[in-house]
Symmetry: C2
Subunit: 381 residues, 2 copies
């Protein structure tokens, strides 16, 4: 991510995270696991302004380690939001035209209620008493936020990876409230290989004695385990080509150490990324969110039930070099939608960045998304 | 691996591991890192008989977690050697014709000198006092064994993965002693992605407090860390298709647990494989051997120095679904050999088993290898 010039006219500028808390009767919002969760706080940000009819609202959905801070800058911090190159005046999600919302998922650790939040029943962090949340539960909670903001129908829901799963779940759960959908680099369900990578990451966290069965908040995170989990993730986010370009076999110190120090730049990069991640992400959230991702399954007739007809328009994007979420998985979504006569545009971009492309390959995505959103907004379909 | 019928005529039957110990002056065999190691013990097995001229000897080289026990059965154990379907009477490596040798690498933990061996200077296990060994050091030690067995020239050196690296190193170090070479599913050097997977595995081991900076032999292994390391390995050994076929999204207990138990069969498989591995493999050996693999680099002019001409015949095999050691890496070896006018046959097999194919896809490998070895042996080239 690039540093943002505060006077950059293409930036939404300084933004702040807002919080919306809701409680439901009978102990909270019902979850798929059978339990209830409440009160629920959702951290969210908005960019741009709603029009009079509130028909220009777009909900952006983040990936596993993302948050509500999609664009602009927070006072005192240099790094802009995770999709800053995509959200702003004149950008793909044009804040001059559209009202953009991004919220942190429940189960996460960036302001929305999750395992590190205080359990009102005990006054202590939930830890593993936090109930299991699914992608559908995340979307139900987001729907409360959208209701609160007075939006009947979202012009678009958009996101990559786990964000793309939420896009698909919005269509499955609330088709009439979604005018268009942009699932990027995602899938209807995890393959066993995708589950396996998540499981290895979870085992790395749970293998760390500091994890203490999730009950570590008084003592500090299982940093080593979470760091290894993140290293596994980073390998899967990059392509062979992008790793070759970024690191090749270059040595950190010009010579082999004949020790277990990081010899190669790629080793140093993984260690750095792992060590940095533990400063900003909760290990229990990593466990809960990866499980939610693995459980997610809208295959078969579950995306659009057989008796339903939907009018949501789709733009589906995948990346040729993304071996974690290979294009075949996006093409499977396209096939299902086509069979149900849904209006769908599909594009496989030839980026070499692997799964990371949905975050960094912003130029080509911008061309596709800007055009698609303008058409949807002006009802050219 | 299948259980072996002790009277199976295609099995080499009951075999035993032998040990060869050698010491060199000045503190042992010189290593690439500048240190010396000695005395060195090499665990090895042989199958079939040498002919009068000892011109029918084939050296088989094992992969990261392999050992000297390539074929036949050990008394009291049901599982045959790791390449039993390839080594035996009438098999690819035909023990009716050839004298087969397989030895455990130095740095390993299956009988050859490694970090878990007793350091004669201290009377304690070497642990991290064990010097760094490279693939070239392993081959140098094997050469001592071959000398001891009275073999001037090996008819063939063959092996997959790290075994294939040793094959290439034999050619680089002792071209005149290798009549033919069969490197399978291997590479001239690890890509940054391959290094990254090994580094994540090493970090998983070293993150386990039980690792104790390698000094754990009095207390027991860093089982959790080593188990996670092995899980990472197993994911990379299989293809998306073979995982889909073996596990799909089948649940272990028919229903989602909404807990961190293993829900999916693939999760149970990884945990089982991880837990089993720690019973049979030393964590420090895993660290040393993965570093040796990452350091290995015979690219550029290093396989055959510019001033050398070699007469070794090559059969190179790769597997279409092997994404850990993709076919392009084998094709790079072919290109270099062709440019140097070396006699090389290359075959990409269409197995769906991923990197594991070199162990399990024995039918097609047998056809190729039997034909190749017969031609080499009968000097049909």
């Amino acid at each position: 991510m690039l540093k943002v010039d505060k006077k950059d006219p293409s930036s939404v500028g300084v933004v702040e995270t807002k919080y919306f808390t809701f409680a439901q009767e009978d102990g909270g919002m019902p979850l798929q696991c059978g339990e209830r969760l409440g009160p629920i706080t959702i951290a969210y940000e908005t960019y741009g302004k709603p029009n009079a009819e509130k028909s220009n609202a777009i909900l952006i959905l983040h990936a596993l380690s993302g948050d509500a801070h999609a664009a602009g800058i927070h006072p005192g911090l240099d790094n802009p939001g995770w999709w800053d190159e995509m959200v702003g005046p004149g950008k793909a999600f044009d804040t001059d035209r559209f009202f953009i919302i991004c919220s942190n998922v429940i189960g996460g650790c960036k302001g929305s209620t999750g395992p590190s939040s205080i359990n009102p029943k005990t006054g202590q962090p939930y830890a593993l008493d936090f109930p299991f949340v699914t992608i559908a539960d995340m979307v139900n909670a987001q729907c409360h936020l959208v209701n609160y903001l007075g939006i009947d129908q979202l012009l678009c829901v958009a996101g990559g990876s786990m964000g793309g799963m939420q896009v698909l779940q919005w269509v499955a759960s609330y088709p009439e409230r979604v005018r268009s959908a942009i699932p990027i680099a995602t899938t209807l369900k995890h393959s066993p290989q995708q589950i396996a990578f998540n499981e290895a990451a979870r085992q790395a966290i749970m293998a760390d004695p500091a994890w203490s069965n999730g009950d570590y908040y008084a003592y500090g995170q299982p940093e080593k385990g979470l760091s290894v989990a993140r290293m596994i993730g980073h390998i899967t986010f990059m392509s062979i080509d992008s790793m070759e370009k970024k690191f090749s076999r270059r040595l950190k110190n010009g010579t082999l150490s004949f020790s277990f120090e990081a010899d190669f730049e790629v080793e140093g990069y993984l260690r750095y990324r792992g060590a940095n991640f533990v400063k900003r992400f909760d290990a229990n959230s990593y466990l809960y969110l990866t499980k939610a991702i693995d459980y997610f399954d809208l295959s078969g007739g579950k995306l659009i039930p057989p008796d339903k007809k939907i009018s949501t328009k789709f733009l589906i994007i995948s990346f040729k070099s993304d071996w974690l979420y290979p294009s075949q998985q996006s093409q499977e979504i396209v096939r299902i939608l086509k069979r149900r006569h849904v209006d769908v545009t599909y594009c496989e971009l030839s980026s070499t960045y692997g799964h990371d492309a949905f975050l960094v390959e912003t130029g080509e995505q911008t061309n596709l998304i800007r055009h698609f959103l303008n058409n949807v907004y002006e009802e050219r379909f």
